[in-house]
Amino acid sequence: MRADAFGLPEILAAAIVLALNAYVLTGGADFGGGVWDLLARGPRRGAQRELIASQIGPIWEANHVWLILVVVLLFTAFPPAFATLGIVLHIPLSLMLIGIVLRGSSFVFRSYGPRDDATQQRWGVVFAMASAITPILLGIVVGTIASGAAGDAGERLAARDATFASVYLAPWLSLFPLAMGALALAMFAFLAAVYLALAADDAALREDFRRRALGAAAAIFIAAFGGLAVAHVTAPRVSGVLTGSRAFAFQAVTAVAAIGALWAVWTRRWRTARIAAALQVSLILWGWVLVQYPFVVPPTLTLREVAAPRTTLELLLGALIGGALILFPALAYLFRIFAPKVR
C-alpha cells in the first residue's frame, strides 16, 4: 500500500464502519432481544420477556442513534454513494424503515400503554415481529451492496437500459442478499442471548439464554457458510476475495473468535463470552469491508471517486473528534448506570 492510500476519505470511511460496528453491537442486540421476545417459550416465558424489556428500555434510543450517525456521515462524506443507494435500494430501505418505526413505537406503547393483557399482547407481537424483520432487511441491504448488485443496478439505470424489476427488485431479491439477511438476524440474536445470559439474575433464566445462544451460534454458522456457498455461484467477486490468500489470516482470526465465543458460552464464562461474541460479530462486519475495499458501492464507485471535497472532509473529521470527546464519556456514564450487576 502506498503512503497516500490512507487519507481523509479512508479515515472517514473507517469512522462510518466503526459507527456501524457500534450499531450492530448495541442496537443489533436490542433487535436480537426482540427476536427472543418473539421466541419466548416455556415456564419462564414471562420472566424472559421482562428481562428483555428491562435491558432494552433505558438504552435502545441511544443505541439507535448510531444508525443515524452512519447515515449522516455517509451522505456528508460520500454523497453520490448515498444517492445511488437511496435510488436502487429504495424498496428494502423503506421496508426496513417501517420495521424501525414499528419496533420503536410498539416498544413504548407496550411500556407506557394500558396494562391490560390484550393491549400488552398486541404491542408485544408487533414489537417482536418488527424486531425480527428489520435485521433481515438490514442484512439484505448490506448483501446487495457487497455482491455488487446495487452498483450494477445503478449502472443499468444510468445507461437507460433498465426495467423496473432489474433495477429495483432483482438486485436485492436474490439468494446472496437473503443469506446475508439470515446472517444478520442470527448474529443479532446471538449477541442478545449472550448479553441477556450475563444480565439474568436467576440461574434457570440464564440457562434459557445459554441454550438460545448456542442455537443462534449454530444459525450463524449455517448462514455464514450457506452465504459463502451461494456467493461462490452467484457473487464470485465476494467469494473470490473471502477465499483468497489476502483474507486467510483474517478468516483465521474470525474463526478463533467464533470458537472462543462458543467455548465461553458452553463453559458459562459470560463475561468472556460477551467479549468474544462481540469480537466475532465485529470481525464478520469488517470482513465485508475487506471484500469491497476500496469501493463504497462496488463495482463502480470507489471511496476516492465519490468523496466530498476536502473542506467538507476536514470539517467532518473535526466534528467527529469533538463529538467523540463528548459522546464517549456520556455513553460510559449511561452504561455504568444501567450495567447488569457483574458476576
Binding site: 439507535h64 456521515l73 435510488i87 418505526v101 467538507t312 470539517l315 467532518l316 456520556a330 449511561l334
Partner: protein
C-alpha cells in the same frame, strides 16, 4: 398523481408528522425539569407527580419523534438523491452535529426516565437539563439546513451544474439562519407550552384537582406564554428576511401580483392564478410596504415579475400564511391575558373564561407550525435550493412513488391515532390525582 407530487407529499407528511414530536421533544424536557426543580425546592408532592407524569408522556412522544426522524434522514436519499448528491457536502455539517445532539439527548433521556432511583438528585436534574438543551440544539442544526435551502450561500455553480468552491461553514450562516432558528425555537415552546396549558385548563374546567392541575397550568404557561407573545415579533423579523431575500415567496404569502409602491396588506382573500389577482381581501393601504420594508412607500415585487413556471402555488401559501398569522395572534392575545390575570390575582385555576380561552387556543400552536412550514416549503417551489436547483431535478427516478407515499401516510395516521389515544389515557389518569 405524478411521481414528483407523490415524493413531495411523502416528504410533507413525514415532516409534518415529525415536527409535532420534535417540538414536544424540545419543550417538554424543559417543563419536566422545571417541575422537578420546584419539587426539590418546595417539597410539594404535586410537583413531583407532575414531573413524573410529564416524563411519562415525554418518553412515548420522544420515541415516536426518534423513529420518525430516522425515516426522514433516509428519505433525504430515498426521495431526493439529486439534492443530496450535490448539497450533501454543504449541508452535511449541521446534520452531523445534529447527530451528536441526538446522542446526548437520547443518553440523558435514558438517565432521566430510568434513573430516578439510581442517580443523585443533582445528577438527575442535570440530566434533564442536558436533554432540554440538546433538543433545542438539534432544532437549531436542522433549521440551519432549511435556512440554507431558502437562502443558499457558500458555493459557486460550475457550467455542469455542480456546486464547487464549497464552504460548509458559510452555508451554516445563511442570511435566513438566525431568524428561522429563533422563530422555530419560539414555536416549539409556544406550541407545546400552550397545548399543555390547554390540557390542564380543560381538566380544571372539568373539576379535577386544583393543587395538581393549577400548578401544571402555571408551569406550562411560564414556558408557553412568553414564547407565544414573542412569536409575532419574531415572525415579523422572518417576514423581513423573506422580503429581502425571497421576493417571490413574499409575493405569494401576501397574494401580491403586481409590482408596486405603497403595497397594501391583505387580510383574507383568494389568490386566483388564472386572473393573476387576489380577490375578496380586506386591504390595508400601504400595510405591506410598511411591514415588509418599514417604509410605507417601499416597492414590493409582484408575482407577475417572474414567469408562471417560477411561481409557487399561490393560494396554498397565502392561505397557510393567513392561518399562521391569525391563529398566532389569537394565541398571543390569550397568553397576554393569562399573564395579566396571573399578575393581578395569581390564581388562574378559578378563572373560567380564561380557562375556556386557553382550551380553545391549545391546538393553535401546532396548527401554526404546520402552516408555517407549508409557507416556507411550498412558498419556495419550484425550487428545492432557492434559485439553484429545481425540485423536479432533485427527485428520485424510481417510478411508482405513490405506493411508498400511501404506505407511510397510512402508517403515520395509524401511529398518530395510537399516540393520541395513549396520551389521552395518561391525562385521564390524572383526573383522580389528589395531592
Amino acid at each position: 398523481m405524478t411521481d414528483l407530487l407523490a415524493a413531495r407529499s411523502q416528504m410533507a407528511i413525514s415532516l409534518g408528522f415529525h415536527i409535532v414530536f420534535a417540538e414536544i421533544g424540545i419543550a417538554m424536557p424543559l417543563m419536566m425539569v422545571l417541575a422537578e426543580w420546584r419539587w426539590r425546592r418546595t417539597g410539594e408532592r404535586a410537583y413531583y407527580d407532575l414531573a413524573r407524569r410529564w416524563a411519562k408522556g415525554t418518553a412515548v412522544l420522544f420515541a415516536v419523534g426518534a423513529v420518525s426522524g430516522t425515516v426522514l434522514s433516509f428519505e433525504l436519499g430515498l426521495l431526493w438523491p439529486g439534492f443530496m448528491r450535490h448539497a450533501g457536502p454543504l449541508i452535511g455539517m449541521p446534520f452531523s452535529l445534529e447527530g451528536f445532539a441526538f446522542f446526548l439527548e437520547a443518553i440523558f433521556l435514558g438517565v432521566y426516565l430510568y434513573g430516578w432511583e439510581r442517580v443523585s438528585p443533582r445528577a438527575h436534574l442535570a440530566a434533564g437539563i442536558v436533554v432540554a438543551a440538546s433538543g433545542a440544539a438539534s432544532a437549531v442544526f436542522v433549521v440551519l439546513v432549511n435556512a440554507w435551502m431558502n437562502t443558499p450561500v457558500g458555493f459557486t455553480l460550475d457550467a455542469a451544474g455542480n456546486f464547487v468552491n464549497i464552504d460548509p461553514v458559510t452555508a451554516m450562516r445563511s442570511p435566513a439562519a438566525f431568524q428561522q432558528v429563533l422563530h422555530m425555537l419560539l414555536a416549539s415552546y409556544a406550541a407545546t407550552g400552550m397545548a399543555v396549558a390547554g390540557v390542564h385548563a380543560w381538566m380544571l374546567l372539568r373539576g379535577a384537582d386544583r393543587a395538581f392541575h393549577g400548578r401544571a397550568l402555571l408551569l406550562a404557561l411560564c414556558i408557553g406564554a412568553p414564547a407565544a407573545v414573542a412569536q409575532p415579533f419574531s415572525g415579523d423579523l422572518s417576514a423581513r428576511v423573506v422580503a429581502e431575500t425571497q421576493p417571490v415567496k413574499l409575493a405569494a404569502l401576501e397574494g401580491q401580483w403586481q409590482t408596486m409602491r405603497d403595497a397594501p396588506l391583505r387580510i383574507g382573500g383568494w389568490p386566483d392564478a388564472s386572473r393573476e389577482e387576489t380577490r375578496y381581501a380586506i386591504e390595508i393601504p400601504d400595510g405591506l410596504s410598511l411591514l415588509a420594508f418599514h417604509d410605507p412607500h417601499a416597492e414590493v415585487r409582484g408575482l407577475r415579475a417572474v414567469p408562471p413556471e417560477d411561481r409557487p402555488p399561490v393560494a396554498v401559501v397565502h392561505l397557510a400564511f393567513q392561518t399562521m398569522v391569525g391563529l398566532g395572534s389569537a394565541m398571543a392575545i390569550v397568553a397576554l391575558w393569562a399573564a395579566l390575570v396571573a399578575w393581578r390575582r395569581r390564581d388562574l385555576s378559578g378563572h373560567r373564561e380564561l380557562l375556556r380561552a386557553l382550551v380553545i387556543v391549545g391546538p393553535f400552536g401546532f396548527i401554526c407550525t404546520e402552516a408555517g412550514w407549508i409557507v416556507t416549503e411550498v412558498g419556495r417551489q419550484p425550487w428545492v435550493v432557492q434559485g439553484f436547483m429545481r425540485t423536479a431535478h432533485a427527485v428520485t427516478p424510481m417510478p411508482g412513488l405513490v405506493a411508498p407515499m400511501t404506505t407511510f401516510t397510512v402508517l403515520y395516521f395509524g401511529l398518530g391515532a395510537v399516540v393520541v389515544a395513549l396520551v389521552a389515557s395518561l391525562v385521564r389518569e390524572t383526573s383522580g390525582v389528589r395531592s
